[in-house]
Symmetry: C2
Subunit: 340 residues, 2 copies
């Protein structure tokens, strides 16, 4: 690992002297390299390397000391939900001049462990993690080794472990109750694997709404596990659903990307939304309202989720006690689930 | 910085002995902490900390040696274009068991420098960077200090500096030529700041198409710089445009998120697309085809862009010479720009 901070600082004059060129030429190599001949450029770059010369802006920053970093691990960086959360985290960290290292577990516990180890090796101040499965033993062990931990988008089982989450049971319940109110008596649920806590809780919410309406979940709920929590997964799940002659008249999708795939497939197959099949998503991503069939969706306070998590992490670093934050989701009703 | 690799390894038995509990209780603290009383839990966690005990999975990974990491810096992690690129990078890195540290410059050169310094301090194998402005001096200096560099989504000015880019001049030209072919004689261009190379090149392409059609860009092109390259930016730019009585009948948006904001604003204002105003975006993101008015867009090979960049970086680490890769974009025509 290079440690430029500890080196004696070379000036641009030193570089020019060693390369036997003018200071202007060194500046050109740095700023407008295409104006310098390859031979001269090579000589200047060799001198820069030999002297470990760090130009202008970088020099100022190197003198300022070590950057303080925190790590965050999300399940899918290509999901707007998580990028909005990441933006909230960054907005909070920037206030205290911290930087964020962002990693993507792709819902894979091994990748998650790998990134955690990387963060630890790199001496991060703390980590915010959306766990890939039920286990949090590795997070407790990490904390025992002195790294602050905040659970992200997952409520904490322990009083002394901070967490920032949204009430997913309530979210699932809101979505299912809305579909029941629209007259549907059977609901398809395109869900992710039950290893993911959010998927379990949204399922619990759906079951709760069905039971409250006097329906038997074994009859009224068709759960399909999608291969991936995105548009391709939604497409596969919807194809599987349409293959059955007796499919429900409503689909609840565990996130909006999955709903996007469902809408695409229904359109291709000539199934009208909401007349033939109603669709409800989850997350209320930016484009939900602008879709061909504007999507009813459960909205989560994404930015606040990230912001608050970063807040708790910085507070923990300063010795504050743990805290569990639980936000409530809300339902945004649009054309995909209501006949005008 | 903690260096767990060098510590003497403690076993779960050591922890149990020190905490004066059974091995089963230690296991419970790690796996089902809610089943253990707070007092006992505290004692076990203290013992774990004192012995620097690393449980099961982590232990295996720690023995395997240092993880090899590369860094990537993109302009906006909330833009699906960049998350698709990041996915391409990860898919390539996974093949060689490398991990990716992803950072978001938000088009801010200072943030970019900060992350580069962080990556360097952490001893990454190399970096892939979408530069926030014209300057690449800091990248050359970084390379001179021994860190491999690949320019991402930006062509290289130097033969010995690798880059993977898409032809943005051609992309701008495709979009503008298409609008001219639809009969438009004046085009509004919602663009980002000219500090960003892609914005300059797409502008060059638009100008080229206008001139090829015998039009004077000073007359035929209305360029509006949006405050941010996303839906909010597109909304602001479109409001500015609609405020002028004599606005063009076509809008070319520098990316699809900006186009999403444009479509939203036009809908709110009762302006029909494409009848009153045609809209063309850039990137062809997942949801482009599913919008209320399906969006014509310039498609870029996002996954290949990231995959190839990671490929060049790993090749450079193995001593391969630099390479410049330039992909071609393609136009995907949909209803937002063509009257049926």
């Amino acid at each position: 690992m290079s440690t430029p901070v500890q080196r004696r600082r070379a000036s641009i004059n030193d570089v020019a002297r060693l390369a036997e060129v003018s200071v202007g030429t060194v500046s050109n190599v740095l700023n407008r390299p295409d104006r310098v001949s390859p031979t001269t450029r090579e000589r200047v770059v060799a001198a820069i390397a030999e002297l470990s010369f760090v130009p202008n802006g970088s020099a100022r920053q190197l003198r300022a000391g070590t950057i303080t970093t925190v790590g965050a691990i999300v399940l899918d960086i290509a999901n707007p939900f998580f990028t909005d959360v990441a933006r909230g985290i960054e907005d909070r960290l920037t206030q205290d001049d911290y930087t964020l290292m962002l990693a993507n577990s792709e819902e894979d516990p091994e990748r998650e462990q790998r990134y955690l180890r990387l963060f630890e090796e790199h001496g991060v101040q703390g980590v915010m993690v959306v766990p890939s499965d039920e286990r949090i033993d590795h997070l407790l062990a990490l904390r025992a080794r002195g790294v602050n931990v905040v659970l992200l988008d997952r409520s904490s089982p322990l009083d002394d472990l901070s967490s920032v989450a949204v009430d997913d049971v309530s979210g699932g319940e809101l979505a299912a109750r809305h579909l029941l109110e629209q007259g549907h008596t059977r609901i398809a649920f395109l869900n992710g694997p039950h290893a993911i806590r959010q998927c379990v809780e949204r399922h619990t919410g759906v079951v709760r709404a069905l039971e409250a309406a006097g329906l038997d979940p074994a009859e009224a709920l068709v759960e399909i596990t999608v291969p991936s929590l995105n548009a391709d997964g939604g497409e596969a799940g919807t194809r599987e659903l349409l293959a059955s002659a007796d499919h429900p008249s409503a689909i609840f999708c565990v996130n909006d990307l999955t709903a996007l795939g469902a809408l695409r497939t229904l359109r291709h197959e000539g199934v009208r939304v909401p007349d033939d099949v109603a669709v409800v998503g989850y997350d209320d991503v930016t484009f939900a309202a602008e879709l061909g069939t504007p999507l009813t969706s459960v909205r989560q306070p994404t930015h606040a989720l990230g912001f608050r998590a970063a807040d708790l992490l910085l507070a923990a670093a300063a010795g504050a006690p743990a805290e569990q934050v639980l936000f409530q989701p809300e339902l945004v009703v649009r054309a995909s689930s209501t006949t005008p």
